[in-house]
């Protein structure tokens, strides 16, 4: 089956790399309860690599009333085995197996069981004694542990995890225009435009960042000593831009006025990013360091050297009112 088509609706959230990580995951469930089976169902459908259910019970009449993944004909059969069979029917790409052991005693009785064999452990209906030992085991080898329980209309879910690093987040890049410290190609590009262009077609196509940068440069010439623009000055510029509109439909000037307040701020490294760069883990790199910290260190080195105190420019620019040639030119600056 064509995976791109089957997984289309989720690939739009986590893309091919996220899917590859999901497919590399092997998840272990302790106790084949209804809650546990439902949790696995929601992992088998998007296509984890493999799952293991640790369960020693036989399917009882009560299971069939609350667990969708056992049937009447499974009554008396091993519960873990029955759930594995039903879950595998949801996605032929996923492999599932069953370990016939009591989850409460598996840490003592089954020497072949090791939490480090799994990417994630999900525990349901375990005693607190068992959970304390399991949590310590997981903590030691850095395997995340999810504990969940339900009773009637209430329930809880807890997560124990040492560190969770994300390199590709899909929340969308922040706009980073550097108007207060334009790079040479940007300065050069901006100089090509005349805000007094008599051609009203051309006037309506001047990208808003050009409008803003020209106003900024004028302010700089008048205030050579000022470290940054005050809110009051930004508001004056906003009014000037609004007055410069030749007619109410000049969207580019509208965009410029709308973006004055943030786009003319002093560019700086966002505090959460600075925190990462200053984290001691950037200094303690070993062969086993996660990629995230290797990249963070490389980023810090760049900032301190070539970047002159700035992050590398992402190059992302959101759509703006202008003609195609201008927009393509801005994207390739």
């Amino acid at each position: 089956m064509d995976k791109t088509r089957r997984y289309d609706r989720q690939l739009r959230l986590w893309k091919a790399h996220g899917q590859a990580r999901l497919e590399a995951a092997h998840i272990c469930l302790l106790n084949g309860t209804a809650t546990g089976s439902e949790t696995l169902k929601n992992l088998v459908l998007p296509g984890i690599g493999a799952f293991t259910i640790v369960d020693h019970r036989l399917v009882a009449e009560t299971d069939t009333g609350c667990n969708f993944f056992v049937t009447k004909s499974d009554i008396g059969q091993p519960r873990g085995k029955a759930i594995v069979e039903h879950l595998k029917g949801l996605n032929e790409e996923v492999s599932g197996r069953w370990v016939n052991q009591n989850p409460e005693t598996i840490l003592d009785k089954d020497s072949s069981f090791s939490v480090s064999d799994y990417s994630l452990i999900i525990a349901t209906q375990c005693s607190s004694e068992m959970l304390i030992r399991l949590a310590a085991n997981c903590q030691e080898v850095g395997v995340p542990l999810v504990v969940c329980e339900t009773a009637g209309f209430i329930g809880y879910l807890r997560i124990q995890i040492q560190e969770h690093t994300i390199i590709e987040s899909y929340s969308g890049p922040n706009e980073d225009l550097r108007l207060d410290r334009p790079f040479p190609t940007l300065t050069e590009f901006v100089q090509k435009f005349d805000l007094n262009d008599p051609d009203s077609m051309a006037h309506g196509q001047i990208p808003y960042i050009v409008i803003l940068l020209q106003y900024y440069q004028a302010w700089q010439r008048n205030n050579p000593e000022a470290p940054s623009m005050t809110l009051k000055e930004k508001k004056v510029i906003r009014e000037a831009i609004t007055r410069a509109m030749r007619h109410p439909d000049e969207e580019n000037f509208e965009e410029a006025a709308k973006n004055v307040l943030w786009a003319l701020n002093t560019t700086q490294i966002p505090p959460p990013v600075r925190e990462i760069l200053e984290n001691p883990r950037c200094d303690q790199l070993t062969e086993n360091s996660p990629d995230f910290w290797v990249l963070a260190r490389a980023m810090r080195d760049f900032v301190q050297q070539e970047g002159d105190g700035m992050l590398p420019l992402s190059g992302h620019v959101s759509d703006m009112k202008t003609d195609t040639a201008n927009f393509v030119a801005i994207q390739s600056l």
């Binding site: 089957r6 289309d8 959230l13 439902e38 209309f153 703006m320 195609t324």
Partner: protein, 409 residues
């Protein structure tokens, strides 16, 4: 007193939609003790449903969602009767909907929700308690979702909260035609301009892979002419079909929330959700529940007539544009008439101000578009707005800011 299981066994519940939410809702209802379930869905099963719609298998692709889901649940759980209806919700009438005691919606379309909401509110009659059918509505998008309880004429309704919806992305036609900048602009050009030009006799079917391939190729060619990067087949699908990301786990959470409300509403065992729960799973987990207030001027459940205060020199076309931009109405192509009890001014040729279709009526009313409102009507005139996305007609009183101003040229 009737016992809770008895109440559940005899409750007739309708599930609207047998997709991602619908499959979950059906399973949860059956496992919770509901015995008489109906499901309505006009769709057939697609490969891209299989990552979450767990009642379907690869062999079911092309089959009716309602029938396949109903057969699966009936087979799996004893003593449950699931009755499928493979049709549009709009094909069913008052008699059909009045048979149910509760309706749960798991839909992916705003239009269908507006219709269902308006229908149930129209049915509600305070003199007949059985006619008040609670509506539980769920919705998801990626890791986020919401669940709400609507008690017709008592709580706020779906139409009351339209302004909560994200603004629809609409690219200006001149950008698409003349100055494309984004890959999306090229795709819109291929599907909206190039397709009707090259294939005037064929309607673009967004579910047809051959059609989509054609649109993709055309968009790609246009993008390369303009040196715009980023046109892919996946993006083409996303733009043309307006695809919303969907995953099993969020659907499971929202469906479970909806079915818990159905349980509570049916048995009275606990207070029900009052009345809107939003769930955000994109940045950790965050939920927020609040009472969304009714709008007194809601076109569906409110009694008040809206008043719009505008300049008498505004042209009719500008008024229509203004109406189209109101986020709490989400109109597509509004038709405007004056209420029957009004006396039109000399500038108007009748009570119909502008009708988008049929073409004959459009032609008759077209000249009004450039007329000023002050020439067409007096201040305080009541207008009746109809629109294909508006499930009822909307009454709107027009007041002029400059009532006594002479608008003659």
């Amino acid at each position: 007193m009737r016992s809770a299981p008895k109440l559940l066994h005899t409750c007739r519940v309708l599930v609207v939609g047998a997709g991602g939410l619908g499959c979950e809702i059906l399973k949860d209802l059956a496992l919770s003790g509901f015995r008489d379930i109906s499901v309505i869905d006009m769709d057939t099963i697609d490969v891209s449903n299989l990552n979450r719609q767990f009642l379907f298998r690869p062999k079911d692709v092309g089959q009716s969602k309602a029938y396949t889901a109903a057969a699966f649940v009936t087979e799996r759980i004893d003593d449950v009767k699931v009755t499928p209806y493979h049709c549009k919700i709009q094909d069913k009438d008052w008699d059909f909907y009045s048979k149910f005691q509760i309706v749960i919606c798991g839909l992916d379309s705003v239009e269908a929700r507006r219709w269902m909401n308006a229908f149930l509110i129209d049915m509600a009659d305070f003199d007949d308690p059985d006619s008040i059918i609670p509506l539980v509505d769920g919705g998801t998008e990626g890791f986020d979702g919401q669940a709400r309880v609507i008690i017709p004429r008592i709580t706020s309704c779906y139409e009351c909260s339209l302004s909560l919806l994200k603004k629809q992305v609409v690219y200006p036609i001149c950008t698409i035609a003349n100055t494309p900048r984004l890959p999306e602009h090229c795709i819109e050009w291929a599907s909206m301009i190039k397709w009707p030009e090259v294939k005037p006799d064929e309607v673009l079917d967004t579910d047809n892979p051959v059609h989509l391939q054609w649109v993709y190729k055309q968009a790609l060619a246009r993008a390369s002419t303009f040196q715009i990067p980023g046109v892919t087949y996946m993006l083409t699908q996303g733009v043309v079909k307006n695809i919303i990301p969907a995953i099993a786990s969020t659907n499971a959470i929202i469906a479970a929330a909806c079915v818990n409300e159905a349980l509570k509403l049916t048995t009275g065992c606990h207070p029900y959700l009052d009345n809107y729960m939003m769930y955000t799973g994109t940045d950790g987990v965050y939920t927020y529940t609040y009472n969304h207030a009714s709008r007194p001027d809601c076109p569906v459940c409110g009694g008040e007539v809206r008043t719009l205060t505008v300049s008498a020199s505004l042209q009719l076309a500008e008024l229509i544009e203004q109406l189209g931009e109101m986020p709490d109405l989400r109109l597509q192509s509004p038709n405007l008439r004056m209420a029957t009890n009004t006396a039109p001014k000399t500038g108007a040729t009748g009570l119909s101000l502008y009708l988008q279709s049929p073409p004959q009526l459009e032609a008759v009313t077209h000249p009004n578009l450039t007329k000023r409102l002050g020439d067409l009507m007096a201040s305080g005139t009541e207008l009746v707005v109809t629109d294909k996305s508006l499930p009822v007609s909307l009454s709107l009183t027009i007041k002029f800011t400059n009532e006594n101003m002479n608008v003659e040229p």
